[in-house]
């Protein structure tokens, strides 16, 4: 009753129009392309239709590997960001008052670092002769440099660094919403600090965890620049494969098919995890 259906439609339609005109329409124009055949050197063959572009995603074991790797990477980065972001968020909300603003600023700062420049920073730090390896070798902790760059490790470090602030800010909001008295209640009922964290705080922040995780997951599986720069040629993910198909090979039909498949899969995962988390948080 607070707003009527007509008002609701009026409110949502500007955004809907923008999205339909500037996102849905161009993307739908691409949809037929994904069912076309691509002849290298000659271009997209007009007239003929095929589902090969989609079929190969499932049939070709290289694509399958990339798909699994991408989603695995998404899960891994999300899990790490959550695992190390939660304590930080907890510290921001529950730590000493005077730390709050500095901590938040320190979380936000790195977001402003240009992606490309940031990647160079990581290369300087993590390469075989980078600062870290040099330090470890000088300290005599290792003999041969650790391979931290141009492989999964590099990509994970880079992506966690980029998306951690997103996760932390979402978690801060969620933890803030947990009533202190509810945690206090757990402790008067005999739950120690750790137990009351796992039995009360964590479930009560489920929706925040979910929101942050979805965001990080979605951003990770569609990340392009960082995997390209820090993963090198040997660690390809869907976004880089799509980029290569589109840009290097001009194989738009194949690239478009991959893009649609990726989006569909991601949305399904997002939707499903939402249901799961709701159940966990007792909100079903």
């Amino acid at each position: 009753m607070i707003i009527r259906r007509r008002t609701g439609a009026a409110l949502i339609s500007p955004l809907a129009l923008v999205l339909i005109a500037c996102f849905a329409a161009p993307i739908i124009l691409m949809l037929p392309t994904s069912f076309r055949e691509y002849l290298p050197g000659m271009g997209i063959t007009p007239g003929s239709w095929t589902i090969d572009n989609y079929a190969q995603i499932i049939l070709d074991d290289y694509y399958r590997e990339v798909v699994w790797r991408t989603f695995g990477l998404g899960l891994l980065v999300t899990a790490i960001a959550l695992a190390i972001g939660y304590p930080l968020a907890l510290m921001i909300v529950r730590g000493p008052e005077r730390w709050r603003v500095p901590l938040i600023l320190l979380v936000v700062f790195p977001m402003m670092l240009n992606l490309v420049v940031r990647s160079f920073g990581w290369i300087a730090l993590l390469a075989n002769r980078g600062l870290l390896n040099n330090l470890l070798i000088d300290l005599g902790l290792i003999d041969t440099p650790l391979k931290l760059m141009f492989n999964m490790t590099g990509v994970v470090i880079g992506l966690v660094h980029i998306y951690l602030p997103f996760m932390v800010l979402m978690l801060v909001a969620a933890i803030q919403a947990v009533p202190r008295d509810v945690e206090a209640a757990a402790s008067t009922l005999g739950a120690g600090r750790i137990r009351s964290f796992f039995m009360v705080t964590l479930p009560l922040t489920a929706s925040g965890i979910l929101a942050g995780s979805i965001l990080v997951f979605v951003l990770t599986i569609s990340a392009l620049v960082t995997p390209r720069m820090l993963g090198g040629a040997t660690y390809r993910v869907l976004a880089t494969v799509i980029y290569d198909e589109y840009m290097q090979l001009l194989n738009w039909p194949g690239g478009a098919a991959l893009a649609f498949a990726l989006t569909l899969a991601a949305l399904v995962i997002v939707w499903a995890s939402g249901r799961l988390a709701k159940r966990w948080g007792g909100m079903a």
Partner: protein, 261 residues
């Protein structure tokens, strides 16, 4: 006192904050190197690169366009996104859930493909690139953050507050503006931050839609690294970070967003 995070949490938090700062520090160090290529640790100490960048009209132009794009698309996204989020939140429409999840699509869809598709589309419409198209494209890629942030902060606002305003004689819009909006503002700050960062960092969509002669900062950096980077890019990043820090401090003073972010 009893629920203060334990020592381990504090230690992890400090390590994580350090981890977050490492590339920032590296970049800042690289920006003062006297060498004409990026290197860490810096050799020598100079502010030459800052002067260089700040006197380079290309960079200034790119920064200007980037800021225009970021600010205008974030503002537009805020207006459109908050209105839509309000409608979704009020459940005034059928299928609100579906609409909300559809809004995530621009985040997942590979941005290169969005860029190419948009270019194809505007060419069909004979519009070509340019600031207007760029702003629209940036709205598309930033609005999901705003909608998410707005939806989650709206969820925390007591409905009866808006009702109270209505009963006190406020129209629906007044009630929103005077009561709901101030209450979700801190959440919107976080959403706007995400949007700004996304706009300021975007290459794949932007690069296809720039009109000839137009340049944004990330595209400029991206295309210059293909042909050799100098510490200038580090200098420009340092400038952006410091600028952001100042803006955030002011925003914090004005809205106290840290209480809610």
């Amino acid at each position: 006192m009893t629920l203060a995070p334990g020592r381990i949490v504090a230690i992890i938090a400090v390590l994580v904050v350090i981890f977050l700062q490492v590339p920032v520090i590296v970049t800042m160090l690289a920006a003062v190197s006297t060498t004409s290529y990026l290197t860490i640790p810096p050799q020598g100490l100079t502010l030459h690169w800052f002067a260089e960048v700040l006197s380079d009209p290309e960079y200034l132009k790119a920064i200007r366009l980037s800021l225009i794009l970021a600010v205008s698309s974030t503002t537009l996204s805020l207006v459109l996104g908050v209105a839509a989020a309000w409608a979704i939140h009020s459940r005034a429409l059928p299928g609100s859930e579906a609409i909300a999840s559809f809004l995530m699509a621009p985040l997942v869809f590979p941005s290169v493909v969005i860029g190419v598709a948009l270019l194809q589309y505007v060419s069909l419409l004979r519009l070509y690139g340019g600031t207007g198209v760029l702003i629209a494209a940036h709205v598309v890629i930033t609005v999901p953050y705003i909608v998410r942030a707005a939806l989650s902060s709206l969820g925390g606002v007591d409905r009866s507050l808006e009702e109270a305003a209505r009963v006190l004689g406020a129209t629906g819009f007044e009630a929103f503006r005077l009561v709901t909006l101030p209450l979700i503002r801190p959440g919107l700050v976080a959403g706007a931050l995400f949007a700004l960062v996304t706009s300021l960092d975007n290459v794949p969509v932007t690069i296809f839609l720039l009109a000839p002669g137009q340049q944004t900062l990330p595209v400029l950096i991206f295309s210059s690294v293909e042909h050799g980077v100098d510490p200038g890019v580090a200098a420009i990043s340092t400038i952006m970070i410091i600028l952001t820090g100042l803006i955030l401090l002011i925003a914090e003073r004005r809205t106290g967003f840290h209480r809610f972010v």
